[in-house]
Symmetry: C2
Subunit: 207 residues, 2 copies
């Protein structure tokens, strides 16, 4: 377990935040969650800030990888579409181990854990996120489509992320699907005007 101890610890930290909120992210708690001693934890992460840094960097790297995977370069709007997909795609939880499903019922999902922890503890740890966004915004603006459209798609994605971060109700399902579809259509430059009336029943659009 030594080689991936870091990952185990990061996953434990993320799980903890998702379950009990950022305030409960204490070294003791993380160590316990990862079934390790505090000493062991501090061997891998020199400080709490260091741990959160790891969380944030992992988050950014994962999202980057996800976008990279989804992106099929060549077509205009490909990167923007990949950004959308990476946001929407159900995040594959890294928590395969220890499935003690004692969900205490609040939103903060694993993906947002790093952000929450950084906001709670030390906003300057968000710097990697800020830097990533600079990069992402650059990519969006030079994606071969109208940068305004691309930016709106980005903002909507961020809105979905925000919603997840603070545990808002997800959009009701037919609407959610329609919104994502509409956003994706935006990235192709095709200005679809097919007004989907309130509560459309066509749930089975091609994925």
């Amino acid at each position: 377990m030594s080689a991936n101890a870091r990952e185990t610890l990061l996953a434990a930290a993320a799980r903890l935040i998702a379950r009990e909120g950022a305030r409960r992210l204490t070294l003791d708690a993380v160590a316990a969650e990862a079934r390790l001693s505090k000493g062991g934890l501090l061997y891998h992460f020199a400080s709490k800030d260091d741990l959160i840094r790891g969380l944030v960097e992992t988050l950014v790297a994962q999202f980057d990888a996800e976008v990279e995977t989804n992106s099929v370069p060549g077509t205009p709007g490909a990167w923007t579409r990949a950004y959308l997909d990476a946001t929407v795609k159900p995040p594959v939880s890294r928590t395969d181990t220890q499935t003690t499903g004692e969900a205490s019922g609040h939103g903060t999902a694993l993906t947002s854990a790093g952000i929450a922890a950084a906001v709670a503890n030390n906003p300057s740890l968000l710097e990697p996120v800020r830097e990533a966004y600079r990069r992402w915004q650059r990519n969006l603006e030079s994606d071969g489509i109208d940068p305004i459209d691309a930016t709106i798609v980005r903002l909507a994605c961020d809105g979905l992320w925000f919603s997840d971060l603070i545990g808002l109700d997800p959009l009701p399902e037919p609407l959610n699907h329609a919104v994502v579809t509409r956003l994706r259509a935006t990235t192709t430059g095709a200005h679809v005007t097919e007004t989907v009336s309130i509560l459309p029943a066509d749930e089975n659009l091609p994925r």
Copy 2:
């Protein structure tokens, strides 16, 4: 000062978060910022959670009031447009007193202070926000325009809010203006296709 002591304290707390981050929101610090003793603070707010609750509720109430002010009922999309305006409008800072501008340069603006504090300390304090969003989403979906469009505008607004919360770079100015304009146009049902090319110089669009 006794009557508005609560407001003074809330403003002090918000200022503190904006300036030094949510972690620094301690009872001592808030009291000092408001030039009051901790005992005095605890007279008005029974606990730290109570203080944060006040912060969150004020935030929701302010936003609600802002939307209400901006909304001109009757025309389709009016509410959605008001939501957009309330988000974009430069928040009139309530901090008229004590203008010690020692901004230490990170994002968390006054508007987001309550959210940040709640995320950091006790996510369950976000319940009023969740409830408000249920209400808002209902209003958006019955605003006389395509609910998909309305929802996308909402999500983009939330994206802007999120951006502010974690202190991302604001959008470069011509783009920002264009995005807001495009979003507003969406709320009128008018599907504008005037593709503003990369970096448009026409900054002086009619407000």
